[in-house]
């Protein structure tokens, strides 16, 4: 944390060497306009949290649905998984966002359906699909790390596939899956910044709009970086707490 504050004066020096000087007044909370600006920037926080959280939950569900066929003994199922993962993983987020937001309604229309997609859900769908390919790979690795004998033992006491996953495999795999899933969640929070380009009023969009009226990009984007930093630190702390709790459970 201390190191990060050391960067700030360095950036100030960098500013001095160019023709521009720093103008922190633009986000100085002690002045009337500065405080209004700060409130305007922070007000995008709730949208960023909502988009990230809903996208992460969808990605966790979707990822499991994609991962399970990949673990099947049947080649056809495994192929479905491979095609999905390789294809989705290869699409950059920005073009996919455009395709979902502008393209998907047209696809629906050609099928005779009227499904409007607003920026909020456009961003969520894109983030969830894009992330699900990565989540699926995390699940696959986690489930494969559980010894084969566990599945066999579950079968010999009469459990079916769903019961085996639900009561035997996933409870053991989740401890190994959780840390990389948390990583992905942090990734989603940062990637949600792309939602600004389709007009979603989240953190980055607010910053962009203020830059246009105030002409102070460096100061405003510096604050934006710290806004994301705070979000990510909160997530990290939450995940560490969860891991400790589960770790204690395993020892008990």
């Amino acid at each position: 944390m201390k190191k990060l504050f050391l960067i700030v004066p360095f950036l100030m020096l960098a500013g001095c060497s160019s023709s521009q000087t720093w103008g922190w007044y633009v986000i100085d909370p002690t002045t009337q306009t500065g405080w209004t600006n700060v409130k305007f920037l922070i007000s995008g926080m709730w949208a960023t949290i909502q988009i990230s959280l809903i996208a992460a939950v969808l990605s966790i569900v979707l990822g499991l649905m994609v991962a399970l066929p990949g673990l099947s003994e049947k080649r056809g199922w495994r192929l479905t998984n491979r095609v999905y993962v390789e294809f989705v993983r290869a699409i950059p987020l920005l073009p996919m966002l455009f395709w979902v937001f502008y393209g998907l309604p047209i696809v629906f229309q050609s099928m005779g359906l009227n499904v409007p997609i607003d920026p909020f859900w456009g961003a969520i769908i894109t983030l969830a699909i894009s992330d699900s390919a990565f989540t699926a790979e995390i699940y696959r690795a986690g489930i494969q790390s559980i010894a084969r004998g566990q599945r066999e033992a579950a079968q010999t006491i009469g459990l079916n596939y769903v019961q085996t996953m639900r009561y035997v495999i996933l409870p053991q795999a989740i401890r190994r899956i959780l840390p990389p899933l948390a990583n992905q969640f942090i990734y989603i929070v940062k990637m949600s910044a792309f939602a600004s380009v389709i007009g979603m009023q989240e953190l980055t969009r607010r910053a962009n709009e203020l830059v246009v009226t105030e002409y102070r990009p460096l100061e405003i984007y510096t604050l934006l970086i710290f806004e994301y930093l705070i979000l990510v630190l909160i997530i990290s702390a939450g995940v560490r707490w969860l891991e400790r709790r589960m770790g204690a459970d395993e020892r008990g």
Binding site: A147, G149, Q150, E152, A153, A154, Q155, T156, I157, G158, L159, N160, Q163, Y167, V168, P171, Q172, E250, G252
Partner: protein, 246 residues
């Protein structure tokens, strides 16, 4: 209902190009104790794993209680509830307590109430002589205790046949006898058992039939008295002399 609990007829199996089971014919009658021995890689574990469908055979028929095993998942499920299995590596569920290990199958697969399942679990824990470990996790138990929990877990499903795949091979020497004692008691109570093991003392005590396998074939089959004193084949004689030397 036929007298045979398990019938294998002309069973062949390949792992890719490796012919692991060659024309296996074997009948296990109700209440019979069959012990399978043989060098490692002879296919003895694979026979047992085919019987409860953990492995699929490619040729021949396997009948359990007169019902032929097919690819139909329903047949696999109904067979598995008739056939219990004890593994070399115990395969207890590490995230559950001993009691939960025992009640999981009866509650989820058999639809028993928690109360009935726990009552049954305690009865079988008593039978394998560890009534006071119910609330511990498997890692807190010794290897011998873990294997006895695994046996109790199988018994909770009240199977008609119990399969053992080298149940004492992963145990420290001083714990082998506590597991074998439980198995002898089960045999004396009339449980139908198929046991893959190198414990020849146990085999002499309980076996109704001895099977010797080598290179995927049943080389010799017979009553333990003849089997141990007068083996017919050279391969069997050599194997027995090697493991009985000590």
């Amino acid at each position: 209902m036929s007298d045979a609990a398990i019938e294998l007829a002309g069973v062949n199996k390949w792992f890719d190009t490796f012919h692991v089971l060659k024309d296996i014919n074997l009948t296990v009658k109700n209440g019979e104790r069959v012990v399978i021995c043989g060098p490692s890689g002879s296919g003895k574990s694979t026979v047992v794993r085919c019987i409860n469908q953990l492995e699929k055979h490619q040729q021949g028929t396997i009948r359990v209680d007169g019902v032929e095993l097919t690819d139909d998942p329903k047949s696999a499920a109904s067979i598995r509830s008739e056939v219990g299995m004890v593994f070399q590596q115990f395969n207890l569920f590490p995230h559950l307590t001993v009691l939960e290990n025992l009640t999981l199958g009866p509650i989820k697969a058999r639809g028993l109430s928690r109360k009935d399942a726990e009552e049954k679990a305690r009865k079988y824990l008593d039978r394998v002589h560890i009534p006071d470990q119910a609330d511990k996790r498997p890692v807190q138990l010794s290897g011998g205790q873990q294997q006895r929990v695994a046996i109790a877990r199988s018994l909770c499903m009240e199977p008609r046949v119990l399969l053992f795949d080298e149940p004492t091979s992963a145990l420290d020497p001083e714990m082998i006898s506590e597991v074998l004692d439980v198995m002898v008691e089960l045999a004396q109570e009339g449980m139908t058992m198929v046991v893959v093991t190198h414990e020849m003392g146990f085999a002499r005590k309980v076996a109704d039939k001895m099977i010797f396998m080598d290179a995927g074939e049943i080389v010799e089959e017979g009553h333990p008295e003849h089997f141990f004193t007068n083996p017919q084949s050279e391969r069997c004689r050599k194997f027995l002399s090697q493991i009985l030397q000590h």
